[in-house]
Amino acid sequence: MNIFLIAAILMAVFISIAILRIILGPTTPDRVVGLDTTNMMVIATMILLGAAYDSVILIDVAIVYAILAFVATLYISKYLEDEA
């Protein structure tokens, strides 16, 4: 079994631990923190999978995902700030 595939599976376990915070989180900013952590872990996992399957296209997807996740985080924060 490819070692990068094993690493990606472990990262999936860590992602599920981070998703627990989105489900449990008592306040809205807690959920946003969980979402941000999950997004960044998904990017790292995509890079690992790109190495596991030797396909560059997955890493290109990871770049675009990183930028879009960043914009989404800024958008949610801006909304949270205006809401108060």
């Binding site: 690493a7 960044m40 690992l48 990183a66 700030e81």
Partner: protein, 137 residues
């Protein structure tokens, strides 16, 4: 075993360890600011090592001469993705912390120097030491 393979395993182990800490840190701290502190830094640091493992793997394959162009592309695109993570993750966490403080969530059990007692602390200007002296005089 190739020494570069052992380097890849070590880098992967470091990266996975720090990502585990990031995931656990979300559950071990009392308020949103310390959760951000625990998860963002370790997550960024772990991602650096995971991407470096991929880069070392691609370069060792490139030196073996297997599908040279694809392996070089793999290394360069991984580094570009790493730069995107390094810019996006700290900026995003800064925005979250700022928004949480502005919308009235205060940190637990510490003296908050930014706390003026009301939300929207931007408009509420604290009198500085100079002002107090001038008023007293």
């Amino acid at each position: 075993m190739n020494p570069l393979d052992i380097l890849v395993i070590i880098l992967l182990a470091i990266g996975l360890f720090f990502n585990l800490i990031a995931a656990l840190g979300l559950h071990r701290f009392p308020d949103v600011y310390s959760r951000l502190h625990a998860s963002t830094k370790t997550n960024t640091y772990g991602s650096i090592f995971l991407v470096l493992a991929v880069v070392v793997y691609a370069i060792s394959n490139y030196l073996d001469g297997a599908a040279a162009a694809t392996q070089l592309q793999l290394a360069i695109h991984s580094l570009i993705a790493l730069i995107a993570i390094l810019i996006a993750n700290p900026t995003g966490s800064h925005a979250i912390a700022r928004a949480a403080h502005r919308s009235g969530y205060l940190p637990k059990g510490v003296v908050d120097a930014m706390d003026t007692g009301v939300t929207g602390s931007k408009q509420e200007e604290q009198p500085t030491e100079e002002d107090k002296k001038l008023e007293g005089a």
